[in-house]
Amino acid sequence: MSGERPAEASPLLVAIAGAGQAGSLPSPGCAIMETMAVGRLPRDGFASPEEVAGALREQGYIAERGLAVAIFLALKLQRPLFLEGQPGVGKTEVARALAGSLGSRLIRLQCYEGLDLASTVYEWDYARQMLEVRLLEATGERDRSRLRREIFSPEFLLKRPLLQALEMSDGRPPVLLIDELDRADEEFEAFLLEVLGDWQITIPELGTIRAEVPPVAVLTSNRTREIHDALKRRCLYFWIDYPSFDKEYRIVRARVPRAPERLARQVVAFVQELRNVDLYKAPGVAETLDWAAALLALDRTELTAATVEETLGALLKYQDDLHRARQELEQGLLERALARPEAR
C-alpha cells in the first residue's frame, strides 16, 4: 500500500460544493477548535516513529516509544488510533498535540449517551426551513417537488463534527477526536464502525458524501464500558499507562516550565509513591500538573508535610482516598517519596 497522497486537495464534498455559512454554526455537544500552530510537516512527512515523538515534543507532549509507533502507523496505514487508559493520563492531549504538529484542524466530538445523527453528522436548520416554506408560499409556489428541492438544499444544512471531518482545510485532512467513546451507546458505536470503514456519509436528500482523504481519527475510552472488539480491531490500539518517573518529570517540566527543578522532582516522586497506595482513583498526569501549578501559585519551592496537607485536594478527589492518603502520610509517605534517589 502506498502512503502517497494528492499534493493538492480538490474540493472534498462531492455533493455539497460551496455549502455556505450554515455549516459553521456552533452545534451543541461538540466543540471545534482551530489549532494555532502552523505545522511544518505534512501528514506523511514523518519518516519514523522517532520523528513523530519529536514533533509531539515540540507541542509539549511527551510520548513513549510504543505510542509513537502506534501514531506513526495510524498515519501511514490511514487507520484510526484507539487510545485507552485511566482518566487523566493524556489521551485527549494526544489528538491536540497531533493536530498541532500536523498543522491540521482539530475537530472534537465529545460522546455521551443518546448521541444521534442530528448532533454528530448533520441536522437541517428547521426554523429557517419553515420560514422558507412560508416565504415560498407567499410567492405562490405550489409545486411540491420544487418546494422540497428548495428546502433541502445545502444552504439549510448544519454540518456536525463527523461531516466536517470529511472536508479538508488548507489541503490537509483534519484530526478527528472522538472523545470518551465509552460514554456513547451501542447504537452510535455501530454507526461509527460504518463511518470509520469507508469515510462516507449518506444524506437522503442530498446524496452520498465521501472524504477524498480520510481524517486522522483518534478515539479515546476510559473504559466505563467495554467497546466492541469489532471497532477496536479496525484501529491501531494503544493502552496509555501511568508514566514512569522519568517521563512524568519531563511532562511536568514541559507543561509547567516555571516550576523549579527541585520542586518538580519532589512533586513527581510524591505522586509516583502515592500511586502505590491502594486508592479508588489514583492521580493521573493531569492531577500532577494541576498540583504543580497549585504549588507554584502558592510560591512553594519544596514539599513539606504542611504543604502536602493543604494541597492534597488537587491530587485526590474522593473523600475515602483523602482519608487513606492522610493515614499513609502519617506513616511516612512523604519521607519515602523524598528519599527516592530521583527526588534529589
Binding site: 501511514k76 443518546g114 475515602d320
Partner: protein, 393 residues
Amino acid sequence: MTGNLLGHLVRFARELRRAGVLVTPDQAATFAQALEYVPLSDREAFRLAARSTMVCRQEDLSTFDQVFERFFGPGEGWPPAEDRPFPGEPPQLLQRPAVAQAPLITPSGEGKESARPLGDRTLTYSALEVLRQKRFEECSEEELEALKRLILEFAWASPERRSRRLRPTRHWERPDLRRTLRRTLRQGGEWIELAWREPKTKPRPLVALADISGSMERYVRVIVLFLYALAQSRYQPVEAFVFASRLSRITPFLRRREPEAALLELGRRVVDWAGGTRIGPALHAFNQGWAKRVLGRGAIVLLISDGWDQGDPALLAREMERLQKSCYRLIWLNPLLGIPGYQPLTRGLLAALPFADDFLPLHNLASLEALAHYLERLPPRRSARRPGALAFP
C-alpha cells in the same frame, strides 16, 4: 517482505490465538502492512508495531509480551536469519492444548441435554408446587435435575431504564422538528400538526456477585445455574462474579452453550471454591477493579451471600456504601432468609445491611420467581433512596 517472514507471522498469530489472544486474519494483515514502514532491524519497533496492530484489549497485552518473547527469542541475533526458525516456534503444527485437570464441580447427568420439552411433563402439578417451595439444600439429585430444567426455562424479563435516545411517539413529549417539517411539506406547506419524540427504554444492566465460600456450598450449584439462565436469556447485559476469599469474574464461562460445560469451566478456573468468606475485601476488589467498568448505565447489583463474614465489619460497611452509591439498586439475596425465625444478626450482616436497598430470600424456586417479578417491576427511573433505611421483611 519475504514469503518466509510472512510464514513466521502467520505462525506467530496462531501462537497468540492459542494463548487466548484472538487475532483476526485482518489484524495479522494490518501488521504485515505495517512492516513496510517499520525497519525489521529494530526489534523493539517490530514488537511495538505488532502490539498495536494485533492486540486490542489491555488484558491481552501481558500475554502478548510473553508469547512474543517466547516466539522470537532473546534480543541477540536480531534480525533473524531468513531460513532459521525462531526459537520459540513449535516444531510441528497443531499441538493439542493440555488436557484439563479434574474439575472441582462434578457435573451431574450425562452432560448433553437434548431439546427440552416446554413444560416439565415428569412433574404433576402438586409435585411441582412442592418443589417450588422446597429449600434448595433439601432437594434430592432428581429434584435438582427437575429444578435445573425449570430454572433454565424461566423467562426472565428485564427491568427497563429510560435511555437518552429518543424515538417517535404520539404522546406530547418533545417536539420532533424533523418529522414535523416533513409532514408540513407533504401537506403542501400547511402546518397541520406537530410530531413528537420520547425517550426510548433499554434493559437495565445486571451485575451478580455470588458468595461461593464454605457456608454457601449447598447453594452454589443452583446459584450458578440461575446466573447461567440469566446470562443465556434475553436479559442482557449480565455480568457475574463469584468470591470466597477473592473475586473472580465468571461472565465468559456463562456464555457457553451447555450449562454443564459452564459449570465444568467454572470448576476449573475458579480457585477458591468453598474457601473462607471475606466479603469486605471481595467487594473492595470489585469496587476498585470492576465497578467503573460494569456499573455504568444504572446497573442493578445482586449480592448473593449468607453474610457469614470473617473480615473486618468496618471495611465491609465502607465497601457496601461505595457499592450502593455506584449502582441503581443493591439487592442482597440471602438463602438463610427462608428459614423461619432466622434473624440477620451476624456482625457482617449488621454492618452491611444498612446499605442494601433490598434484603430478599433466595432459598427455593418460589423465591427465584418472586425475584424475577420484583426485578421486572423496578421503575425505569431512579426512585428516591434513603441511605441506611431498610425495612426488614
